[in-house]
């Protein structure tokens, strides 16, 4: 072609200049857009994990994420807080803010039924896991418990020792706080009303709400996030609270004026799951495989005060540490586990009713 033979012609110079300009614009543009756009090349080596923040994330970063990155070179980026709604939105829109998350027992059944999580990877190596560790396409990681905690300055002779005590505003006058979460609160309301532990499910919803009515005037606020529940207790905004054991133990370790009981603690299991349709699902399963290994899980649980759901993990835990865990035998027998399979069919209606009940 003419222009090829005469590279010095105006036209050729013009083209190359234009190309150079184009290149500069492209480079500048991608540099500006880089933090906002996940390019395929980067996606291959980064996994986005949804975390609970606070002590949870600190422990996970040190004992779960760091060893995984060291082993595989895959970077972990975290997104907080854990949001079931985001998990649902991700499956719907195909935009992934995170690939992996942990869900409690009630939520995993709900998520699995609604097709919000990936099917279990058949290549998952289960030889080092407990038989019941795989459940509803998730892998059980650790147990946490909703226990009764209180301010010692408010109740110097000891706080409520059962949910019936917690509900007893004559014996323990003062303000209360519970999690804004029907699946966890309704069984507690039934226990407070005298329903035995083994008769909780299926839940008698009318009875549960009547029971909740009794305590409602004293509930100043319903907590929605772990850190918020800690702050409410630490600053004395509430006198007694249904709160996760791990958050309470952290407060006690910080020498805050609070105490708690394992009595009638409500144990919940956390499961690792992969967000439905995630482009990084393969990596996500590799990550899950890595973080439920007994030794890593043990170190994570010690750091964050959770109870490992892989019994082999206890081989790596000192007894002094194990005593702070809800799955330690002496603690475990004082508490109860949720029957998530039986509760699940009730949860959609119960949650709807609970939301309205709170708002009235």
């Amino acid at each position: 072609m003419n222009t090829a033979k005469q590279p010095e012609s105006d036209f050729a110079v013009d083209t190359s200049r234009r190309n150079a300009l184009k290149r500069i614009v492209t480079i500048a543009g991608s540099a500006i857009a880089a933090p906002y756009v996940i390019t395929p090349a980067r996606a291959a080596e980064t996994l986005y994990v949804n975390t609970w923040g606070g002590i949870w994330e600190e422990a996970a970063a040190a004992h779960l994420f760091a060893p995984f990155t060291k082993e595989t070179g895959i970077q972990i980026k975290t997104v907080s807080p854990v949001s079931f709604a985001k998990l649902a939105a991700q499956a719907k829109t195909g935009n992934y803010e995170f690939d992996v998350t942990t869900l409690g027992g009630g939520d995993i059944v709900r998520a699995n039924d609604a097709g919000l999580i990936e099917k279990l990877d058949p290549t998952l190596d289960r030889t080092k896991m407990a038989p019941d560790q795989v459940f509803q396409n998730g892998v059980a990681s650790h147990a946490f418990s909703t226990i009764i905690a209180w301010r010692k300055d408010k109740y110097p002779n000891g706080g409520p020792q059962s949910w019936a005590d917690f509900w007893d505003l004559k014996k323990f006058p003062g303000s209360r706080c519970l999690q804004s979460y029907a699946a966890r609160v309704l069984p507690l309301a039934l226990l407070a009303d005298g329903v035995p532990r083994d008769k909780l499910y299926p839940m008698d919803l009318d009875r549960a709400f009547t029971s909740l009515d009794r305590i409602k005037p004293n509930i100043r606020v319903w907590w929605t996030q772990g850190q918020q529940s800690q702050q409410l207790l630490r600053d004395g905004e509430v006198d007694a609270i249904g709160i996760w054991h791990s958050r309470t133990i952290e407060l006690i370790q910080q020498k805050q004026n609070v105490d708690f009981t394992w009595n009638q603690g409500e144990i919940d299991r956390a499961y690792w799951v992969v967000s439905k349709g995630s482009p990084r699902a393969k990596l996500a399963w590799r990550f899950i495989q890595s973080v439920v290994q007994p030794d890593r899980l043990a170190r994570f649980c010690v750091a964050a005060n959770y109870g490992p759901l892989n019994p082999k993990a206890f081989e790596y835990i000192k007894e002094a540490d194990a005593r702070l865990m809800p799955t330690f035998p002496a603690n475990y027998k004082k508490q109860f586990e949720q029957d998530v399979a039986k509760a699940e069919p009730q949860l959609a209606d119960a949650t709807k009713r609970f939301e309205r009940w709170v708002g009235r």
């Binding site: 303000s175 606020v221 009235r360």
Partner: protein, 289 residues
């Protein structure tokens, strides 16, 4: 639009064409941005309010036949009204003082208002949590005068209203100040010359002239308040949530995108209705001074 006089039209047809399209070309980037990031998502919300989970107007029927939702909607309007009136009562004297003075104090007051405006509202909300909390200065004062334990202020309607008034105050002050500043002082002097008392001068001269600022400020604050989310959720009573908070819970806890979309559309329509009324009686272009 500028219409050129008839005789000069023919010779400069080309530039006239340019002039006609120039405003659109200047507007194109922002229009494209709004279309992609505002109109399209908004359309999705509107569509999902009648299609999620199935094609029907059921969500709207549910909303308007359910006393719970209507109560929340009513409360949202009532709260916005209280906040607007409180803002007006507090901002009017401040704006008046600022507009009538000429000294450095005005600069100081303007700076304080602007600083409030520039501080993130999330920070301001958390600041109120600290101030009104059990370990905060307000509780300390109550304890000092022997009121122990102090009254619970946090997580009540009072605390959320207080914070919303604080957060929205700058809008009201700015709206009032910009109008008051333009009032000719000679008019007030004339009124007094004609024998009007200061009170009368204010009632018959100053206040009517400042009325556009009052209407602007009130409209802006009321509309902003209708959609408030974070502040009532964090500071307010769980029993007195506003509509935006309910929408959030609807998505977060119930995954009910259809119903949440319906509420969002209703809130939007209520807001647009107010804007339409404002436009009919005042003119939307006046909102920006």
């Amino acid at each position: 639009m500028i219409t050129a006089p008839a005789p000069t039209q023919a010779p400069i047809a080309a530039s006239r064409l340019g002039r006609r399209w120039l405003p659109w070309m200047l507007l194109a980037p922002v229009l494209a941005y709004l279309a992609v990031f505002y109109l399209v998502p908004l359309a999705i919300v509107m569509v999902s309010s009648v299609t999620d989970p199935s094609l029907s107007l059921g969500h709207y029927r549910d909303f308007f036949t359910d006393s719970f939702y209507l109560q929340v909607l009513g409360r949202t309007f009532a709260t916005s009204l209280i906040v607007t009136v409180s803002c007006l009562l507090l901002a009017y004297p401040l704006a008046y003082a600022m507009a009538r003075r000429q000294d450095t104090l005005v600069v100081a007051m303007l700076t304080v208002v602007a600083l409030t405006f520039w501080t993130s509202f999330l920070v301001r909300t958390y600041a109120w949590m600290v101030i009104l909390g059990n370990r905060g200065p307000v509780a300390a004062v109550f304890r000092m005068v022997g009121w122990d334990p102090p009254p619970e202020i946090l997580f009540t309607r009072l605390s959320s209203t207080l914070a919303m008034v604080h957060i929205l105050m700058p809008f009201m002050v700015m709206a009032l100040y910009s109008v008051m500043k333009k009032i000719d002082p000679a008019l007030l002097k004339a009124a007094q010359n004609l024998g009007a008392s200061p009170g009368r001068t204010f009632r018959h001269v100053f206040f009517p002239l400042s009325a556009p600022g009052v209407v602007n400020g009130c409209t802006m604050v009321f509309i902003l308040c209708l959609g408030f989310y974070v502040t009532p959720v964090l500071l307010g009573s769980p029993r007195e949530q506003m509509l935006a908070g309910l929408i959030g819970r609807q998505i977060e806890e119930l995954l009910d995108f259809g119903e949440a979309s319906t509420m969002a559309v209703i809130l939007l329509l209520a807001t647009l209705g107010l804007v339409a009324i404002y436009n009919r009686f005042v003119g939307i272009d006046k909102l920006w001074g």
